[in-house]
């Protein structure tokens, strides 16, 4: 029988006025297993804690029960006191006789009886308590950031500035992401590249950042603090080390092709760099378009290259990196116009999406900032913007709000009106969601100062008639049908996660929602963490959001990483699941229940008599387990248990309370 001490706190009058603490400690003295019991006025005070420490040492107690306020208040206080006295802190349990007894009952007799019973139950629990020790987990202080857009760059810079090495992986040949394509930004109308270029340049030259563009993460193993990832580096066919960025190759290359960066609005050469401020400023050959790759002839780039850096035979290679934390900032895309059959299914050249408009409005874009329509290069005299094109639409499986469209549409309309003063700009909207600093004012400016016509209603159809685009809409405020003949139609298509997000989620073992956005660990309290420990989220990978919000979230994610790296090793809470390997049959029915993917099969060797038996059992990754205990219920034989709230402890507590 263990020697258990019981301390009953008066909490001044808070407890003692309703619970007869003296009677309680008296009665507990005679309870089996209790070696010492006493009551004290304020146990949480220094003398109170000293009393506890002294009693533990003097009586060589093997467990204590403190009947006091809620464990949420002082569990850690009393556990620390016990630890100081040489008792394992997990042999300390709190009985809540204040919040859940003295304060909620008025009859002293009832309250005392209840308190005594609660204390006895806790004593029973402590009898089954075990020494638990936090585990130290080694930590690689290096972070992998996936995605080189504004969020990924922000994370990379913050962490790098804090002094830790960063690997930034970007699938495109250059960093900058979607923001690099934008013309101007709301609500200030400052040019996107003006504010972005200093950032990209800094990322490019920061000594703590290893930039891996044209690369993708293809494999990940390990757990928080200790991941191993494999990164696929796709061939660029140019030796970037040698290349000096003179871009003669681009100039001389005879093959023109559609530019992905321009979203079909402009052209590029088969060997080229996407845009003049690109970082790294190095060209890449488009294998599918290059004449040499197609016919085996040409080699114009080889001829003109002064440093001989074209490498047609370059292959992709895989690099392996050990890292401690991962930040997913894989960004967003726009819903393809092809999904919107009522708006022409992408077959009308002059029905474009928001990003295409950004390109034609961008000073560095294909039209050098003059808003011309793609079909014939004319300056549109009438332009219609359609918001919620695919968003808030159950039919298109995108019932969510894309959040940024209201604002950028107002910006588009404004940019247009600033250029074409006598043109008409019409916006079809459903609700204007302009919640943000200066946002509502911005939209109002578009309406009041720039005379953008806002119509509340959705557009049913867009079709071509006599060289004009006919927009069939409605103004629900006047309940009039509206038919507008437009030169250019801009669809604010829904924001969707990056195409590869789902696969990336599977690779990193991070869950995504039905649409492919990454799930956060807690919607309110842990918005930048994923369900997988050590993997953090930033930017539109998690949900649609604008630049200021993305930057704040990215900074938050960086702070999380820095906090994690500020220690020399990680400490895990020992109150986690444990497996009794002798009993576990390895059926792994516990596995799907674990929200943290902390349970994995493992083959163990057990010696039974003379033979060594190999068999499969479940194991807990103590670094990942958070101690919810759901697995322990799924385990029929009870092989899975939860330290600190074990089956034995709960049952004993339960039995004592039922009496």
């Amino acid at each position: 029988m263990k020697k258990i001490g019981v301390f009953v706190c008066w909490c001044g009058l808070n407890i003692s006025s309703t619970v007869d603490v003296g009677k309680a400690s008296e009665e507990l003295k005679n309870y089996p297993g209790v070696f010492y019991a006493d009551d004290y006025k304020y146990l949480c005070s220094d003398p109170g804690q000293e009393l506890i420490k002294k009693t533990i040492i003097d009586n060589k107690l093997e467990g204590i029960v403190v009947a006091a306020c809620s464990p949420n208040m002082h569990e850690s206080t009393f556990r620390a006191a016990a630890e100081a006295a040489g008792l394992n802190p997990y042999r300390v349990e709190i009985t809540n006789i204040r919040e859940q007894t003295s304060w909620v009952h008025s009859n002293k007799e009832d309250a005392t009886i209840k308190a005594i019973q609660l204390i006895k139950a806790t004593v029973e629990k402590v009898k089954k308590s075990e020494d638990l020790f936090p585990q130290q987990i080694p930590l690689t202080k290096k972070v992998l950031v996936i995605g080189g857009g504004i969020s990924g760059m922000t994370v990379a810079l913050e962490v790098a500035e804090a002094g830790y090495p960063v690997i930034l992986v970007e699938k495109e040949p250059q960093i900058g992401g979607n923001m690099a394509k934008l013309s101007e930004t709301f609500p200030t109308l400052d040019c996107a590249s003006c504010i972005l270029t200093p950032k990209t340049a800094e990322v490019g030259r920061h000594s703590n950042i290893t930039l891996m563009t044209n690369s993708e993460v293809v494999e990940s193993s390990g757990y928080f603090g200790n991941f191993t990832v494999k990164i696929k580096r796709k061939p660029t066919f140019v030796d970037w080390e040698k290349c000096i960025g003179c871009m003669l190759c681009q100039e001389k290359c005879p093959k023109k092709t559609n530019s992905d960066f321009e979203h079909g609005m402009g052209k590029r050469k088969a060997i080229s760099v996407a845009f003049p401020q690109a970082i790294p400023y190095r060209p890449i050959i488009n294998e599918k378009e290059c004449i040499y790759f197609k016919t085996g002839k040409c080699k114009m780039c080889v001829k003109v290259c002064p440093v001989d850096c074209i490498e047609f035979e370059q292959l992709e290679n895989i690099v392996e990196e050990n890292i401690g934390a991962i930040v997913v900032a894989s960004g967003y895309e726009l819903l393809p116009k092809e999904k919107l059959s009522e708006y022409g299914q992408g077959k009308y050249a002059d029905v474009i999406d928001g990003m295409q408009f950004e390109r034609i409005a961008s000073a560095s874009g294909p039209t050098e900032g003059v808003i011309r329509r793609p079909s014939d290069g004319k300056i549109p005299q009438s332009i219609v913007f359609i918001q919620c094109a695919g968003s808030r639409d159950n039919q298109k499986d995108r019932p969510y709000c894309s959040k940024i469209c209201c604002m950028y549409t107002a910006k588009h309309a404004m940019l247009y009106k600033h250029q074409v003063h006598d043109g008409t700009a019409t916006v079809f909207y459903m609700d204007i969601r302009a919640g943000g600093k200066g946002y509502e004012e911005f939209v109002q400016r578009a309406i009041e100062d720039d005379h953008v016509l806002y119509l509340r209603g959705r557009v049913a159809r867009v079709y071509e008639e006599d060289g004009k685009l006919v927009v069939l809409g409605v103004d629900t405020l006047s309940s009039e049908q509206v038919r507008i003949e437009a030169d250019l139609v801009v669809l604010a298509t829904a924001v969707i996660p990056s195409e590869k997000a789902k696969v990336l989620g599977q690779t990193l073992k991070v869950g995504t929602d039905a649409y492919g956005f990454f799930n956060e660990a807690h919607p309110k309290l842990r918005p930048v963490e994923s369900m997988t420990k050590g993997v953090f989220l930033a930017g539109c990978a998690q949900a649609p959001r604008d630049i200021p919000e993305t930057v704040s979230q990215a900074t938050g994610a960086a702070a999380k990483v820095i906090t994690m790296f500020s220690k020399n090793h990680l400490v895990s809470d020992p109150q986690v699941a444990k497996v009794n390997e002798k009993i576990c049959v390895g059926c792994l029915q516990c596995e799907p229940i674990c929200p943290y993917k902390a349970i994995e099969p493992e083959t163990i060797e057990v010696r039974i008599g003379h033979t060594v038996e190999k068999r499969q059992v479940a194991t807990i990754n103590k670094g990942l387990c958070q101690g919810c205990g759901a697995c322990s219920v799924a385990c029929r034989s009870g092989a899975m248990n939860l330290s600190g709230f074990s089956n034995e402890q709960i049952l004993e507590e339960l039995k004592a309370l039922c009496l």
Partner: protein, 140 residues
Amino acid sequence: MSVKFKPNIICFACNWCSYTGADMAGTSRMKYPATIKIIRVPCSGRVNPTFIMKAYQKGADGVLIAGCHPGDCHYNSGNYFAKRRFLLATRFMNYIGIDAKRLRMEWISAAEGVKFARVMAEFSETISELGPNWRAREEV
């Protein structure tokens, strides 16, 4: 011989929402009957249906499982698993003759001290009306 029956009720409360909700009820000095005793568990998903049966066997007259609201689970999904288990367990216990009214599951958040006190009072009342549970209870 009119001693009023004082039921014995066990409440499993998840540490993050309902247990804190119970603390909230206390901090706000709300009153509810002393018939209810709380067992703190990390998550409603930790509660094994066997515990409930054991509680009846050892003399509980009613059992209440309190967890976070759906979508609010600290561990994301524990309460959904708990819900499935207890949807099934309640029906099954009822089937073998233990009144389904004796088992109740409630979603109580950390802010819902009022709800906690109300549920406790209500449930205590329900169990008082049902009277002591003798079914599947060990003979003493």
